[in-house]
Amino acid sequence: MFYREAGQFKTSYEADQSILPIFQDRIAMYIMLMFAFIVFPFIANDYWLGSILIPFLVLSLAALGLNVLTGYAGQISLGSAAFMAVGAFAAFNLHVRIPEIPFLVVFLWGGLCSAAVGMIFGLPSLRIKGFYLAVATLAAQFFIEWLFTHFDWFTNYSTSGVITAPPMHIFGFAIDNPLSKYFVVLTIVVLCAFGIRNLARSEIGRAWMAVRDMDIAAEAIGINLMKTKLLAFGVSSFLCGLAGALWAYAVLGTVEPQAFDIIRSFEILFMIIIGGLGSVSGAFLGAGFIVLLPILLNNLGSLVTGGAISTETIAHIEYMIFGAFIVFFLIVEPNGLARLWQIGKEKLRLWPFPY
């Protein structure tokens, strides 16, 4: 309805292959970015920033990571949280051992370590598929969880397994209040999102999707399955690792294995199922859904029953609703919210015609 594509013609491949070829979409994107960078910081209070927006962004990043692996490359994983943990602990250790190192490097390091670990646990994917692989990643989940709980070296021999993340400094600025954290996280997440979008539209992205859609054919046209899959594991866990580090530093302020248990892994899986497999926007939509739903429920619960209903009960309802949604989406729209969004957009472009 709002699309006016007549006259938007491309005279170069560069323009034709750009991320958002349609003018109206570009506008929409700019507006969103403007909101994220300018409007929210002004209107949102610390509660919103600290306990909704930042977690949302970090989880989106993790979901993005898993989406690379599951959505683009078609390799299912139940170990995302473990890779987050690796990122968090790697970052922490580098930081406490060599405090001089600039923070961005620290985060990068977190990502890289996680990537390395991810590739190791990705090795089985060369022989096994589907939930067999899922099991292998489960192994990663449990093993890594155990590793960080039982080896004090990782926790720098702190008496309790829980350690507070030291304060962040970037370019000499202290990143201590929600607002500053928000900006850091936002910037990183946006950059990553565009990075993945770029990958998706270039050689690597196509290789991934080829492997996902029809691995035999992919091989027959000269795609090296091993390299491609491992790369997917690497990139995916890199993002998860980064997310893990951010989660520890920007959200919790503590570094603890419990924050990265299997429940978290599932949470992230749900995000991409609900949000949409194989799309960047899906990661964000899914994360938004999963983050906002509980808050919504809590408020609703206290609103309806005037606080009579226990948070525990709400938690249980939450479980049920999540479960229901997963099943619902898998049945109705396996490609999730992102696909629904797509369809809506198509309809708008064709309006008033039905097809």
């Binding site: 089985p124 939930f131 067999y132 489960l138 039982h150 525990e312 049920m320 999540f322 898998l330």
Partner: protein
């Protein structure tokens, strides 16, 4: 006379030639060698104790695993919700008892609930997803898992409930210098009984045969007029039954609580090792995992700060996966070009 001997010889050869036979055989041999070594070099009574303990807890893994196998055989679905079903069954059962329902009645009632659940699942989840990718179904069961967990704790509550089946949990038999927990033995017996029951069920009932047919080839089964839907309901109900029994056993051991849902996850390595499609596989796998993790815990755990039983089975499973993706007893996974 002579040719009879020849026949016997041929039979022997046949058996020996079978791959899985060789595998189990080698496993057994290695176990024996290991135990011999232990017999010679360390406190073998203690070892025996650990070993048997492992076997017994292994039996219970097999019990849970059995639930997976049933459903997997019949519908190719890896039912991640099995754990939740165990929890649900156990909770229902224990709460009914707390309400003063006699044990048998409670059991039957719970069973009824499980059947209803099975039907509901078939209607709401499986039917719409029929002939979708298995991975999709798998993820669906994860959703299902969450739903049931939530429901179980919403309908009942999420406190720890003591389930007393009237067995002294600390009484133990003495075998030489080794102590073997009576309860575990009993549990093992129950499990064994159930396995036997199911085995018979599979072999000798119409549904059982139908099940096997479906397991072999869906399309074929459909074409010869086996009603897939009813089959699924049966299977899921059977899985429900297994869940109930497992729930009772685990519940009375650990107390009925959320934790026993996670116990089910242990069943996954069991299946990987034993193979998804074979009942005996589930049992052997369970045993291997059971004593594997116990032994590992006792003899290796010390070096690495303990609690390795959480991940040891998975590592074991991973190794098996790398070598033999279809597991020790599973049917080979063939891919067509």
């Amino acid at each position: 006379m002579k040719n009879i001997l020849l026949k016997i010889l041929q039979c022997m050869l046949k058996i020996v030639n079978q791959k899985r036979f060789i595998l189990t055989f080698s496993v057994l041999v290695s176990v024996i060698i290991l135990s011999l070594a232990i017999y010679l070099f360390m406190d073998y009574w203690f070892f025996l104790e650990v070993f048997i303990g492992g076997l017994l807890s292994g039996v219970m893994y097999s019990l849970v695993a059995l639930g997976f196998v049933l459903i997997f055989k019949a519908s190719g679905v890896f039912n991640f919700a099995q754990g939740a079903m165990v929890l649900f069954a156990a909770l229902t059962f224990v709460r009914l008892i707390e309400m003063g329902v006699p044990m048998l009645g409670a059991a039957t009632l719970t069973m009824l609930v499980m059947v209803i659940l099975a039907i509901a699942i078939e209607r709401i989840v499986l039917r719409p997803l029929v002939n979708q990718d298995l991975i999709i179904l798998f993820m669906a069961t994860i959703g299902l898992n969450y739903f049931i967990e939530g429901m179980a704790q919403l309908v009942w509550d999420s406190n720890v409930h003591v389930l007393d089946l009237g067995i002294d949990e600390y009484a133990a038999y003495e075998i030489g210098e080794a102590f073997v927990n009576k309860f575990d033995v009993l549990a093992a017996l129950i499990a064994g009984g159930l396995v036997l029951l199911l085995a018979l069920f599979f072999r000798y009932t119409v549904i059982g045969r139908a099940l096997r047919a479906v397991a072999d080839d869906h399309q074929a089964a459909l074409s010869v007029g086996i009603p897939l839907r009813t089959i699924w309901i049966y299977v899921w109900s059977a899985a429900g039954l297994v869940a109930l029994v497992a729930g009772m056993v685990w519940g009375s051991k650990l107390g009925v609580q959320f934790a026993i849902a996670t116990v089910a996850l242990k069943a996954i390595p069991v299946l990987i090792i034993g193979g998804f499609t074979s009942v005996p596989g589930a049992i052997i796998g369970g045993l291997i995992v059971g004593c594997g993790e116990k032994l590992a815990e006792v003899y290796l755990g010390g070096f690495v700060g303990g609690a390795i039983e959480n991940w040891f089975p998975y590592m074991l499973a991973m190794i098996v996966l790398m070598i033999r993706p279809e597991g020790l007893f599973g049917e080979k996974i063939i891919e067509r070009v």
